[in-house]
Subunit: 459 residues, 4 copies
């Protein structure tokens, strides 16, 4: 009996999902473009989060917000107090909702809400909201500029599609609220700050909001995959550590008595060379980059201060730890070599995590049922993504997690070379853009997956 | 006959000099404190120079100013167009004389004037005017702060006494104008911009204003020498080259395809290590410092751009050239090692030059005649000073040059340890200060030296 | 009809192979132990090759030897003329057959022979013969020492089983000669010098002796795999380049005039650091090692000469080329940085090559038919092997090639952890040893594979 | 009264010295050439010392020898036990006197003897005996080769004139023994091993043989100064430390598991770069050289062992200590950076020391009295010389010390450019040679200085 009914039910459900999605998609895209226009970097997504909060509350959701869902100590790569303050005032000026902005202020830009109806699985949905510190292209061939929603915030840009993710989350929340009666279980919405730099997920994990989840679903638009294609589960995110190193030496006049200085720049330069020389590891890929080095006060002064921004990566957590431990030892001894002192400041961290095949199969089933979606499996996502923190937590509790890729290439030609996809690399450029149809796809696919999961649990 | 008369004349002359100096010293010190309060860095000394110009013109001097005395191409370490513009508007706002400010604008802050009376030697006097990029101490024990003339310009400070030199120049111009009838020959006043960083002298030399000098006299207050002492001639300034290196690489995602980047930061770090490793030279002291290194755009991007601020020094010009040539070769090959490109930008340069003993003897004679001045010879000045550019030009034309040190220590105790003096090191600190009596001494000593030189020529 | 007959034939054939192998195995093992005792390094295998030649000639084979099968210009890592001469005299003294030694002398230690009977495929068999520059363990638990056949040549040891390969080749030649009537086609025996350091294969390939092969079969004893197991085809050998760098500088007294030296040691040290810092490549594994660095003449002399021994590796030829090109650029510019000169001398080189699956299947079939052999596939061999040069040549001509692994672990316990095998790493140690039963297995397996191939071709 | 008598005495004395010197000079030069032919490096001067011993004993001197005058623990840069043994057997084979060779064996090649007559000052004379590890030129224009006394010992050569010093010591001993009655006081002869590498003096100082000296006199032939000229006292030897660093890492297969190695070569290379980058010191000249670096076992093995040969120098002891301490810190931390271990082994050490002006004046007086000698003062000797260890000990006890330079240039032309002499640099080359007349000069000058000192003490 069950399978036939369910199957019947699903067709109806799917049809309903489609109807609502079609009805609200223009509003949702308007939200996405608005977020794009007022792009906000991690821990400063006050305007974005406040508008999401407003939308949720208006639909009848009750919110947990700010300190309720963010562990203060676990936030990484937090801007300075001053910068956070400036972000707040900018957000207010740009139309942040004052009702919520106070709670979101000071680096607490997370929102959690849920829809509960009867017994059933607890399913978490995660959406990131932050933009990148990147200057958006101001040229006609760049659609956001041409159509007037390029970022008004200098040096800040949504170049990774999180504006679309956040908007999709709002859409899914709207669809589900309208279909609340069909829901059997709990759907928890997690709007996460500061994914860029893998800084924000940990603080929400540590706040405990994922501890009771049976399922966790995330998604990411993929500008490198055709619109109409989906990747049933992204895996192989590199484990990564992001950290700053502050080296303190002693200044001295470089002409008069150079020997009395402790040269922090030389210590840093020596560290850099040796960091890149860390041995390859036979167990898999590793990476290290010193992305920035700023050192010195004046040409004629032995440099007393150097700051390095570093990241390590590994194909798995052990490989990343291997890199980090080696890096730490090199930094320590390079600094001592020049009688300097140092401090390491963690700025971001993400483990590896793989999408669960069982859940990927459900995604693929949904894809087929929705129709006109081509399903692919992706072996290697490349880059890093702190959703892995959340996936790992759920998987540790025997839950299942998946991160779905939504094809979003603007032009369908010459983007798919049939090879393994190397997704996030197309992003993070000043003319990044994606097809907004992907938001529609994400809304339908994720919502239908929720019903599919609930259906599966009932059986 | 001559010697008796001269001797007689000199006593009168000296007495006259003293009288005028005593009469104007308070006004001159007021100028110095005013310059100190509105401290201006090199090529931006618009307010300072304009007030000097006003003073000179009011006394009856005719000026050459700006482009008339500065060769545009030979200016080194010029601030950006934007910065120069900001300096101009700041100066105007802080009371620069509008009559002269237009000519001084855009990095042309030099003034030359002269007093001519009959036939005789052409004697140049040089005064520098610029402050340092240093935040002045804001504490009661620091007199300029306590007495209300600490710099109002953030991060700019007269920490090397050039405010005093400029004021002394104004005083000497006033004394000589009053004694014009006794002058036999030409006294040329050279107010030079941008001595700090050894950036300004070359542009005035190249403008030709020193080409006909028979004598050249400069002075420097010495906070490390007792007030009442003078150094008859400072020598042994290191030859130095100041230059920036811009290294351009190619960015790439550090996780996704690091191999496609050309790492400018790594090229820079490698250059730094090898630069410090340039071999010592058996012919004398050499120095190299990489004072600043700024590189990189983001933690996860292979660095595409690095900027180094470097200086070399040598006990003589050959040694400095040795260092510079080696440095250039290291930079070139380190950059090529990483398939990057580079550009070297000269920011300052000064040769070595020694005070002429014949002129030093005259200084010593003046010192004795003035009375209550103790005369010392200083063998090694340390540091660099671009007055050497001017000295060298005059000496090449068989003229004589001297740079006099004027003891200016605020406290007479424990500053003189009887060892070789290492002068400039006491300067360039945030609580630098000196005894203003030194300005009075400088005025009398330099003026009497002028008469002594003219007297000598007559014989 | 054919399949049944063949199958019948094969049983007889296999039985015959077994009988002969059993009959000669003691003699063959005696050869292996004799080669082990008089271990000879690459290009110096005069005694070994001469005894193989004697054995082949006595059985009725006609030889091509020395310059006939070795292209002089393509030999890599050749010892000095002096060393080769010493090797020759040592070999003669240790019982090399004088009839052949003259032709093998001077770095021409290769032998080729063949057995032809009727029309059929041309099948090449390759056997390497050289030992390593390693001091053999002299301790009772090391069987060769205990049983009196440890190497008598100081610092030379068969630690990779090539003694066993060469002996197996002699055994196979003997079996096939006795079964000549059953052969249909050509079996060519290739005894190759200087596999260690991947130095010898290229010279035989360039001599043209593989150009007409339809099949190529090699084998390697695997001390890391149980006796009784075989790997049907080893693949994934790293592409590698081995090269020496000679850096020439200029000496100078380090105290008296260090600046006049060009420091080759410093150039080398700088190259080393930067070589290890070559960026990882996202397309796969890469390696670089500076295994040796010898530099300098005396403590107080700026070093005029440095020699580095370097190798690069890549998971494929492109990756190895990436590493080599980067390395070359680093060396060039590091040397120029110190006004030195350099020369790169190729010492070895091997591409990647994979065993052909079709041939691997035949091996597996043989393994099953022989019985009591467990067949495994090995994905990754690790290390490098210059048999790949030969495989590549045959494969380029549309031939098939395979390199078979023969399990040879002395103790069957705890060596197989069920994970991917990492074969060659167990070798190259001073107490390397293997179970001689593997020679017997190799003789039977390779011979039966030859008949299997000929059988296949007939169908 | 005294002055007249003394003066009279001195003429006689001088005449007597001349007569004896003339009589024995050919024998003495024969000794020098014999020592030259059988050149022996430091701690292996068994043949040389034994022949000196024989000569002294035959004249009636009593010897202290070997362990009696050498502190075993203070010997630096001692060859290996094996090498010392080889030296012994070589020496015996080349005609070492067996009576003394046993005591000189094992690195105890020092001899002390003295001549005592009545009360008077205790005057020490020091002669070094060792050759350099250098291959002597084999060309006709090189006199030792042309005249058949070039070194027969491969790679060992008297290229610093110590053969002449030792021979002169034998001559002075002979003259004084013949004039014993005129002696008033004690003349102690010190034949020191291992001056090259500044290794031997400390062990004789620590043995206490200089503790009671009132005067200490050494001499050195100067190939860079004309024959007939003398330098009354050499000063300004650099303080120096010579040391080896052994770095131990952990080997690993560079292809298979590079990460498990600890790379001693990389640690060494990094140390080298940073060692040369030690900051210049404003108090005076410093030097550092890594003269040799030998590292690694095989191309494909992460290097487990590196040995560096290093020296530091300073214009004075403090500057040398500054360099050494910095070097030690760099080595320590560079080694730790790569998880390696290290050991520093002292191979030589010498302080700075200056000749006493009072004694230099006596030398000059002697020079004038002897006639046809031109006296110069030398300010800077350059290089290092471990006689300074002995000078320092005597000076610490309020004694006076001098090291006399004896002009010995073969060709009188173009060697004296009137500039400051840079003596030891002309030595240490494969075609070093000097005019043997200098030995005659040394004998007469040093002997007459002894009488002059005794005369002075009497007054």
């Amino acid at each position: 009996m069950s399978t036939i009914n369910i199957s019947t039910l699903e067709e109806e459900v799917l049809e309903k999902i489609r109807q609502i999605a079609d009805a609200i998609i223009n509003k949702i895209i308007a939200y996405q473009r608005d977020f794009h226009r007022f792009a906000e970097t991690g821990w400063g997504e006050i305007r974005t989060a406040s508008l999401i909060a407003r939308h949720l509350v208006e639909m009848g959701y009750e919110l947990e917000i700010g300190r309720e869902v963010i562990d203060p100590e676990s936030r990484m790569g937090l801007p300075s107090r001053d910068d956070l303050e400036k972000q707040y005032h900018r957000a207010i000026k740009q139309g942040a909702d004052p009702e919520f902005s106070g709670q979101l202020r000071d680096g607490f830009t997370g929102i959690v809400t849920q829809l509960v109806n009867g017994k059933g699985p607890i399913i978490g949905l995660r959406f990131d909201m932050d933009a990148l510190g990147l200057q958006e292209a101001r040229e006609r061939k760049h659609r956001p500029y041409r159509e007037g929603y390029a970022s008004v915030n200098d040096g800040v840009m949504h170049a990774c599609g999180h504006d679309g993710h956040a908007a999709a989350g709002m859409g899914i929340a709207e669809i589900l609220m309208q279909m609340k009666d069909q829901v059997r279980g709990t759907v928890r919405f997690i709007f996460q700050p500061a994914e860029e730099g893998v800084r924000g997920a940990k603080a929400m994990v540590k706040a405990g909001i994922l501890d009771d989840l049976d399922y966790l679903v995330g998604h990411h638009v993929l500008s490198s995959m055709k619109c109409g294609e989906i990747a049933s589960g992204m895996s192989g995110y590199a484990a990564t550590s992001k950290f700053d190193v502050v080296i303190r030496g002693k200044p001295a006049h470089a002409g008069g008595n150079p020997q009395s200085g402790n040269n922090a720049l030389l210590a840093a330069a020596n560290a850099v060379l040796n960091l890149y020389a860390i041995s390859r590891h036979s167990n898999g890929a590793t990476r290290l980059n010193v992305g920035k080095l700023n050192a010195g006060t004046a040409r004629n002064v032995i440099c007393p201060l150097a700051v390095l921004e570093i990241e390590t990566r590994g194909a798995n957590n052990e490989l990343n730890q291997y890199m980090y431990k080696k890096a730490e030892n090199i930094i320590k001894n390079s600094v001592r070599m020049y009688n300097c002192e140092y401090r390491i400041k963690f700025m971001g961290e993400a483990p590896t995590a793989d999408s669960d095949p069982a859940l990927m199969e459900l995604v693929e089933t949904c894809g087929r049922e929705i129709g006109n979606l081509t399903c692919r499996r992706i072996h290697r996502a490349g880059g890093s993504e702190d959703f892995t923190y959340m996936m790992k937590r759920v998987q540790e509790n025997d839950g299942l997690a998946v991160n779905i890729g939504i094809g979003a290439a603007l032009q369908s030609s010459d983007q798919d070379n049939g090879q393994e996809l190397n997704i996030p690399l197309a992003a993070h450029t000043s003319n990044f853009d994606f097809d907004e149809k992907a938001i529609h796809t994400a809304m339908i696919l994720v919502t239908s997956l929720i019903f599919k999961i609930m259906d599966r649990e009932r059986k």
